[in-house]
Symmetry: C2
Subunit: 591 residues, 2 copies
């Protein structure tokens, strides 16, 4: 089935609900006119369905191939050509800085494009995806010399980039890294060590790969405060010499087989310091935060493709009669979409996908406002929400996106389990998104352990300001009472954590995962109320896409009736505390 | 990691909580003494870890191979030898009827063994698993001649059996089958048609395969009332002639790659009627109900293996320090089991696995009582619960078993996503269990659409009798108030369905999935209260396995605090009805 970009839903969200089209009133985003936004949606959608999607299945079947003699990695058939078209269309430069050849468009549009790429080939999308993080790190923290050397070619897509963090003995706990950086005489450093799970560490899409590598300077402390960031090119840009940064092998994985997941051996490779010594974690977080938002879009992208596939199947597959009488009396049976339990699955996919898209684009808009709005107070409050919601977008969109892909598989029944249909690949590909760039448990800890305490709780206060402001300003907001209940539950849980975590940090750890879900469900409830309000208003005046608007009203109802009520369980989970998790002794586990 | 059968938990459940050891007081199960039960647990556990488990990974890597010239199927290396040992140990005969060479032991013990086989190689376990269903169908519905011809060799494991139901155009809706049975002169029938997704339809473990095939007699009505069941051997037992029932190919699947999932072409193959003409659905349900319970054990079995793997990993993997101070001060970091969010995942696995095991064995015990108890009232009430709980066991254990395997993968982080660890295979293998033998949505419809109305609601009244009887008799039962709340929620939801479904069957369809979950969570709450009660009593008197008993008390608390509260959401989901699912028009879905 050919992918159809969700163009109408995107227009509704960007223009009618969020007002992202207003970004062009800001100087920085003057180019982002409504026409341009519409053109981006249309062109990206075409590229995704015509160029990217056809590479997806073969990517899974062939996988990447490693040559142990040359240390080269070959990507699956068609990846090179599809990547070339992606580059040719300027998509690698979309929101990149103008001064290095980027187009300087809003990040929100990058989110839109990310979703489409991930719907159609997650593995392929990761090569430019990681490059984007490298661009941001270099742009924010690199010297002018480094920027001049690398940014233009990374932005044009002529080169790609990587993030080299993980080592065999450490993933989450980066204080434990062992890769060493020893100063050379010429101001560069000799990088020595082994990194694992390096996406795009080696491949044949481009001629040069720019690694951003965390390593330790001599005598640096054995904590995250002793980590520095280095840029280590595969080929030295000045001399054209091959730098000894070699791929030592590929991981064999459940999914994303078209993405080269490399062991990388740095054998005294030449690197240059990015930012200050021992300040690598800061630059790492520049890449990481951006990568987290992109990974969230991966979850959503896969879920959207799964929804389209399962919807198409449910409309075609004839099996049994409707409980309210035949709907296809001339056929041997009715299409399974008539059955309530099948509709339950499809509705859950539709409603959560649309809600997650709203959450992501809301966050994208705040990201753009945080860098481009002239009013400092707006920049700050927008940044508060971006910081708070980044782990929420990453974890919730990958968890629920995965679940939606899995639900799509279930709609297909036995067919979904076979490789004749794309669902099982979507599920396998989506599984990693809940793990990399920080597992979803780590996202939850970031939210509860870090973000709640930044600036004395300012981030979550900004969120409550947004939510309660909306409730106050919209006494007629659809589903207002349930939304109010959700905000109250979130306030109660936040208070509980504020009271209990300071004296016992394990209480924060125990609360983290349900608190992240509670936050996500509440913010999405707010966005569903906004969407339903806009839909109702447009229906009242007769403007807009009537089927879409009517669908929004029913979907909002489904969300508030069948999905949001989970919040009470989450609140109770948080407020019953850590004991039933922490009381088990070693000898209790498998007694 | 070598599998460890959960022997202590099984003994606690079978002997101390459920009293399955008392079955030997019944004439039919006089052999099932406590010593014998313990021996079965021990020997099956050994077989599983020593013989079955070593075949699991290779089964996935190699898969089954089909030869299009000969129509033969080759199973992965080691399957033949492992199956031979399974047969040699008499495991195929465990609960089979004595008069045909079976051991006639309680079905509950079969459940115990099923779990272990599924923990260690789900694919391999399916060959004897399907055979078991064929034995039951023949035993219950076949003529003496058929029984004499087939049962002994099926029970001994010398032959295996299949269930041939699905066709390309029909899975759930068996009224649509097209396979034809035309009478031959000799009292047999010529079977013609194509069946798909036939587990073990062709393989090399044994010399003969006995297919049980649904087909239509000439002039039979085009509904499920026009279906008859036939036994169609691969090799005719009298003449040794090859029957034209050929494998036409294998499905390519996400998982259970060691299980041969065959397209079967019946090209005028000789078959014999089982039971009455046009009464095939009844015999089919004999196989199906049994298969559903077995599939439930598959979900649990995989979840148990995943738990063991992730527990082992969490104890070994060093990463970050405990939030309450170093627990492994001499190492570079603490094992991740110290982190609350990791414990949350492990606890969910432990508590649900133990709860699901209790539910399955409770149902097994009722199954045994329903056939063996001298008092008709006990037989009937036991049968009520078996009928009611069969779809619950199938759907809940496969849904939550899958989720637990998936949670186990998450505990391993990136390692879990690689094929170096067994978790990703457990997840892929487990995915099918939510689909075959009736998707979990169909199970829910069976519960709500059929089981609730049998005998005017008698089945669910029997369940409420069991639950409220326990509450009445045990004023001090652990977590009594929460259990009472769950029973009330289930009563309320049951009443809601009873009031709304008769005038609008789609309300039953809409309520089905949450109602099944609500039933499962409530019955498991009842069983956790019982388990905690027994554990507390034993701790008070100082008998029993102290770490296990202490673990039970904490686990029960986790269940009531963190898992059971989902019931309120389920109740609300049911009682808000079908509208937000059914109101969407065709043009709303992808507007």
């Amino acid at each position: 089935m050919q992918y159809q970009a969700p163009a109408n839903d995107l227009s509704f969200l960007l223009f009618d609900v969020l007002g992202v089209d207003k970004l062009h009133e800001l100087e920085k985003y003057a180019d982002a006119t409504p026409d341009l936004i519409s053109a981006v949606i249309e062109e990206a959608g075409k590229l995704a369905s015509e160029v990217i999607q056809p590479t997806n299945q073969i990517g899974d079947r062939q996988g990447c191939q490693y040559n142990p003699e040359t240390h080269d990695v070959t990507t699956p058939d068609g990846f090179k050509e599809a990547y070339a078209k992606f580059v040719e269309g300027g998509w690698t430069a979309l929101d990149a800085p103008l001064e290095y050849g980027g187009q300087g468009l809003p990040h929100t549009l990058k989110f839109v494009v990310d979703e489409m790429m991930c719907s159609t080939n997650l593995s392929l999308g990761m090569y430019p995806g990681l490059t984007h993080g490298a661009i941001s790190a270099l742009h924010s923290h690199g010297s002018d010399e480094l920027k001049n050397t690398y940014l233009e070619k990374l932005i044009s897509g002529e080169w790609t980039g990587t993030m080299c963090l993980t080592e065999p003995q450490c993933g989450t706990d980066l204080g434990m890294i062992r890769t060493k950086a020893t100063p050379n005489d010429d101001g560069s450093y000799a990088i020595e060590g082994t990194k694992i799970w390096i996406t795009g560490g080696e491949h044949d899409l481009v001629d040069n790969i720019i690694h951003l590598v965390l390593a330790k300077l001599p005598g640096a402390p054995d904590t995250t405060k002793g980590i520095s960031l280095f840029v280590v090119p595969k080929v030295l840009p000045d001399s054209g010499e091959r730098n000894p940064a070699f791929c030592g092998g590929l991981e064999h994985k459940m999914g994303i087989k078209g993405s080269a997941t490399c062991v990388m051996n740095f054998e005294g490779a030449k690197g240059w310091l990015v930012g200050e010594p021992n300040d690598g974690m800061r630059a790492m977080f520049t890449m990481m935060n951006e990568a987290r938002l992109m990974v969230g879009m991966q979850g959503l992208g896969l879920a959207e493709m799964a929804y389209q596939e399962s919807l198409g199947f449910a409309r075609e597959r004839l099996q049994s009669r409707s409980l309210s009488g035949p709907k296809n009396p001339d056929g041997p049976a009715d299409p399974i979409i008539v059955h309530p339990d099948v509709r339950r699955m499809l509705m859950r996919q539709k409603v959560l996908n649309e809600g997650m898209r709203a959450l992501a684009l809301f966050t994208g808009q705040k990201l753009d406002l945080s860098v481009a709005h002239p009013d400092e107070a707006v920049r700050e409050s927008s940044d508060d929400l971006v910081q708070l919601l980044t782990p929420v977008v990453k974890a919730f969109l990958t968890d629920e996106g995965y679940k939606n892909a899995d639900t799509g598989l279930q709609v297909l029944g036995g067919s979904g389990f076979t490789t004749d249909w794309p669902l099982e690949q979507l599920v396998r590909d989506g599984r990693i998104a809940r793990i990399y760039e920080g597992t979803n448990g780590i996202q939850a800890m970031d939210l509860v352990g870090r973000k709640l305490s930044i600036k004395g709780g300012q981030l979550v206060r900004t969120l409550f300001g947004e939510l309660t402001g909306f409730l106050k300003d919209n006494p007629e907001a659809p589903h207002r009472e349930q939304l109010k209940g959700a905000v109250k539950a979130l306030e109660s849980a936040t208070m509980w954590i504020a009271q209990n975590a300071p004296k016992d940090p394990e209480q924060a750890g125990a609360a983290a995962t349900p608190y992240l879900r509670l936050t996500a469900l509440t913010v999405i409830a707010y966005l569903w109320s906004r969407m339903a309000g806009v839909a109702q208003a447009q229906l009242d005046t007769g403007e807009g896409n009537k089927p879409l608007l009517e669908g929004k009203l029913i979907s909002a109802r489904f969300y508030f009736e069948k999905i949001l009520p989970e919040i009470e369980q989450l609140k109770q989970d948080i407020e019953t505390g850590k004991d039933s998790m922490m009381d088990l002794d070693d000898d209790h586990w498998a007694a």
